[in-house]
Amino acid sequence: MIEVSKAEATNREVLEEVTILFSGDSGDGIQLIGDRFAYSSSVKGNDISCFPDFPAEIRAPAGTTAGVSGFKLCFSSEPILTPGDHLDAMVAMNPAALKQNISELSDNGILIINSDSFKEKDCVKAGYQENPLKTGELDRFRLVEIPLTQLTLDALSSLNLPRKKALLCKNMLSLGVVCWLYERPIEELENWLDAKFGKQHLLSEANKKALHSGYNYADTIELFDAGFRVPKANLPKGRYRHITGNEALALGAVVASIKCKRELFFASYPITPSSDVLHSLARYKNFGVKTFQSEDEISAMGAVVGASFAGNLALTSTSGPGLDLKQEMLGLAVMAELPAVVFNIQRAGPSTGMPTKTEQTDLLAALYGRHGECEVPVLAPSTPADCFTMAIEAFRIAVTYMTPVIVLSDGYLANSAEPWQIPTDEDIDGFSVANLPAQSDGALFQRCPNTLARSWVLPGQKGLEHRLGGLERDYDKGAISYDPDNHFKMVLTRKEKIKRISQDISPISADEYSGADVLVVAWGSTHGALHTAVQQLKSEGYAIDHLHLRNLNPLPEGLGDCLRRYRKVLVAELNLGQLNSVLKNHWSIETEVLQKVSGMPFKIDEVYQHCKQLLTDNSQ
């Protein structure tokens, strides 16, 4: 736990919120300083929201736009849900970073650049015909040119570091400047560097020096007209940490396992942007977690099905291409009625697509991607922290209904961090595994009358030996059956079992969604932008509501009635209308769609404008 330092400053303009972008080459350590500045902001008491955006290449050629890595952060004195559309400030370590992102900087925004990297050849590499510092195109910003390279070298000259090593501290120098600008005490950062490298370590020393130099440089030469202050937000009191969607999924899985007292078995094959789930869980061996890096996605899913048969809480994680590969084995889990959870972190498709970019295009594949009538429950968390809740919920549904469950996260949720009020053990609802037969009771293939789940009989239990498989089996006895009527009965039973889940999840409240002009329906990571835009419109007096679905299959009860209470239903998704088609399949309603498939999240403003248009059309 870190104590919030009480550094004071004077003469600062007070802002409600600031959105800043750190950008540079992927080798520049942008994610690191972004992440840490976000943390500092949180510790200072702001609410924050951030969006890391990195290139597909490990380290694309330095200085090209392909290699630009960005970290966007909004810190605020009000509760916020997205990093915002426009930038108040931007750090560009080179011309490529400038080129890639300048369109987002608001007029009169602060633009900090490393003037040492705006040589002719740098500009050409980035695709500029002329040096943008000279064309006047940056005149509408508050341009702050800093010779970051030289300053860094000067600052570290006493340490006798090789030039290359020294230059790696540029990012810290720029962070120092930004710390001054937004009144961040640098002690906390120093502690973190000490913890990271070891107090005596040369790198700790070097980074601290660079940080200080930046801070002092800004202070001394009065780089800015004024510094800013974003006051503390009015958040509920308590313990907080940052959490990304991927971390939250991992934590949720471990908590589910502790709560229901079954070991967690996790098998996965690395794939962007899901690999961090594997990295996180691999570190939780002392929580009884078993992680298995398999030879491919099919194997991961197969191991999960096996582990589930043997009684572990079984989990895999993947991304689009891996989901395709898991489908056949998911079908086996459906047929064998075994609990399992798949975290699918969606990325821009189809095929290899744009692996580091976000999208919501796997919904239909999750719902229908298997041959035969083969339904599975599908859940979608709406914020990074919600990933924690939905991970636990996925396991609850899986073991209660004896079915595999797919959780759809995406690249945006996966990598974005938000402050999360840490729950205590007691805060978290547990669940138990009700259908473990204690002994040979002959009820091997009997179904629970409420859930229709079969019992979870584990190898090692005497007297309950049985054979599972992918062939259709007899409703009563579980043996292979080719009987036509039995097959139809089993198909309907499996369908009904999934349908019953809808009675076991929160219904759509008729009070809350009592009807208006427009209802915006959506799911997943778009929550923040949509909610913010709708709140804005509401505050302007428009009759608009926002309904964000977290259960995509089965859909919650009351949804159909709710949809009919609105004059227009707008389904907004980062795909070509996948949830829309699901809704239309259930209810013959006319809908409007807002589509975006560009690998980027919605901007608040594009949602706002679109809705406003609809509302205006409506009132005619």
């Binding site: 940490r241 048969f309 053990d425």
Partner: protein, 343 residues
Amino acid sequence: MSIVEKIDVVTKLSKADFASDQEVRWCPGCGDYAILAGIQKVLPELNTPKENFVFVSGIGCSSRLPYYLSTYGFHTLHGRAPTVATGIKLANPELSVWVITGDGDALSIGANHLLHLLRRNINVNILLINNRIYGLTKGQYSPTSEQGKVTKSSPLGSISGPVDPVSFALNAGATFVARAIDKDAKGLQKILKQAAEHQGASFVEIYQNCHVFNDGAFEAATARDTKDDATVQLVDGEPLVFGSKDKKAIVLDGLEAKVVSVNTESLPDNALVHTTGSDNEAYDALLSSFQHKGLPLPVGVFRQLRKPTYEQGMIEQQQSSIASQGQGNIEALLTGGSYWFHE
């Protein structure tokens, strides 16, 4: 339940106790019957409670076998049994896990999973039932079919040469590798027992006659009048001697194996003496190449090595992690990184 009680229960079991209530549905004359019988015979002798056996299979005629055993069983997907078996074993290392697979199942669609299971040395027993044909899909050539095989899918003969299951397993690093034959009940049972008792991944290729689509594929190795000349029994510590009337020995000449007649009692100096524990890849390769070099077919255990299993490694890491960081709980988990108070 104490261990004594368990053993008590186990020793009372007989072959019949391992027959399920399902009617066996292979073709009349299928070699799978003998293999099923062999397994049912051996299981009661393994001192393991019946409920601790799990038989996992892929898809194929052979992969129907688990239905006919009264143990726990899982008839999974074509080629994927090794993955499911891996999950079962890692989830509960106490179980005795077996994989039943065919030549198509294991070496066509599933060879990658098999490779990695063997490489990881997960303690499961793999029985690859090789009839050199796809039985269940009615007779196409398989990866173990001889080159030039005429089938429905290769009316002018198959173009590529076969994979040898034993070489594959040896090369994948399996710690126990053997070959058995459906018709040799005694030999089969002995090998099954050794495989079961081995700690680590065991691989057994079992020649099986598909009466309907590839009858007589293993005629030479099974017919009364040819088998003693066509095969050589592998016995740990014993020389490679074979032959029905005239005894013959296999000798080493440089890196080649050759057959010599041995009429007297003494063997030549360069006679090969079989050892299952050699850990010598050249010897393994030599032995497993006999078949396509016109030398007699080796039957029995090729290799048996003692190496740590994957699940042992996994458990050790868990334990060392608990030792160094303490048994985890929710509070420790959620506050694991850095956090702050908002007041």
